[in-house]
């Protein structure tokens, strides 16, 4: 009985934490542009 209670508590805490992260969490979009760009020759003669 004690084991089931502990399991329910753990699942409840995990659910609440997951819900908070889902609502409050911020996702960053992966870059949709960019990549290889040709570079012009450097002009300084150092």
């Amino acid at each position: 009985m004690g084991f089931i209670k502990r399991l329910l508590v753990v699942l409840g805490i995990a659910s609440i934490a997951g819900a908070i992260l889902r609502v409050k969490g911020k996702t960053t979009d992966s870059p949709q542009q960019g990549g290889w760009r040709q570079v012009t020759p450097p002009t300084d003669q150092s």
Partner: protein
């Protein structure tokens, strides 16, 4: 008018010693000659152990004002040949040839990409100093172009601590054989103030090269890039080098080459990733080129040789491209003017 003063005579001698020698009439050697002629260096002496191949290449390249002549090894070394700089574009080892050339007070540009050979070449520093000439070690694509790109990227950082190089493709047949050997040896890497050795062919990493090459699996290999890049930038804490390889390449690496290599590999690539601090924050910059490997190697070697001849590289002793003491920006500009396109990765 004949010079009357001894100083005038010495000046005349210096001016007349304005020839470049090229050893090796293979794919890379021919690209070296092309580039030398395109930058106005019209007097080239060509040597190859296969005399017929050298004569054929000299005949093909001898047009307009370009004077490409074949020479024996002894003629190349002789005072009368008036050679100031020799580009070693033949198969490694180069150390023995370089030793003879330095003794004859001729500067050397070596394209060697063999680790043992490169170490021997670097050991000729004192000899080059004693003879008042310059030895540039590893002036090809990788190493060579990798050093120039390292310095190009490093100049935009406040400090750098990591460099990771990857290359794809091979030049001529000798380069392909070296690539085959490199996958069966011991890779060298610099890791937190110590040289580490790992089996070549291990450490798979997916590396993206500039278009149109794209992504290739790259593996550790016995290549001299870490040695030379560490020498070019002693502050580095981690240096690795990888080459692209297929399953068949790795499986057959410890066997003799099963088929003769192609006359020239296809489009190759080089990418270099530099990590360090920029504007007080951790930053990574990636640059690369996509071109035939022999073309990149030939243009880098020829540009370096022309800079030696014109005195733009005045420092004596053994050096590697990317060292602060060398005019790397000027050399990179020369290489890019030679048709090699530089790409930088942005948006990451």
């Amino acid at each position: 008018m004949a010079p009357s003063h001894p100083a005038d005579r010495s000046e005349l001698t210096l001016i007349s010693r304005k020839k470049i020698g090229v050893v090796g009439a293979g794919v890379t050697g021919s690209r070296v000659i092309d580039q030398l002629c395109s930058v106005g260096q019209n007097h080239v002496l060509l040597h190859d152990t296969k005399t017929l191949v050298a004569q054929r290449l000299a005949n093909v390249r001898r047009r307009g004002t370009a004077s490409v002549q074949t020479a024996s090894w002894h003629e190349l070394l002789s005072e009368s040949a008036a050679v100031s700089v020799v580009v070693l574009s033949c198969a490694a080892p180069h150390a023995q040839l370089a030793r003879q050339l330095l003794s004859a007070k001729i500067s050397v540009v070596s394209l060697s990409d063999d680790v043992t050979d490169v170490l021997e070449l670097l050991g000729l520093h004192e000899m080059a100093l004693a003879n008042g000439v310059t030895l540039i070690v590893g002036a090809a694509s990788s190493p060579g172009m990798s050093g120039l790109l390292l310095r190009y990227l490093a100049d935009s950082f406040e400090s750098i601590d990591e460099v990771h190089v990857a290359s794809h493709g091979t030049g001529g047949p000798d380069c392909a054989r070296q690539h085959h050997r490199a996958l069966s040896g011991q890779s060298i890497g610099w890791h937190d103030d110590d040289w580490i050795r790992r089996p070549a062919g291990s450490g798979r990493e997916l590396c993206w090269f500039p278009p149109p090459i794209g992504a290739y699996d790259c593996y550790r290999a016995e290549v001299p890039d870490p040695l030379l890049l560490k020498r070019a930038a002693p502050e580095l804490q981690r240096v690795t080098a990888r080459v692209s390889a297929t399953r068949r390449d790795r499986f057959t690496a410890r066997l003799p080459m099963l088929a003769a290599p192609n006359q020239e590999g296809g489009l190759g690539g080089l990418r270099i990733e530099v990590r360090g601090r920029r504007n007080g924050e951790r930053h990574t910059a990636v640059a690369g080129v996509a071109e035939r490997v022999a073309q990149v190697a030939g243009v880098v070697a020829a540009t370096t040789a022309a800079a030696l001849l014109s005195g733009e590289i005045g420092i004596q002793g053994a050096h590697v491209l990317g060292e602060v003491a060398l005019p790397n920006a000027m050399l990179l500009t020369g290489v890019l003017n030679g048709g090699v396109r530089l790409h930088e990765f942005v948006g990451a």
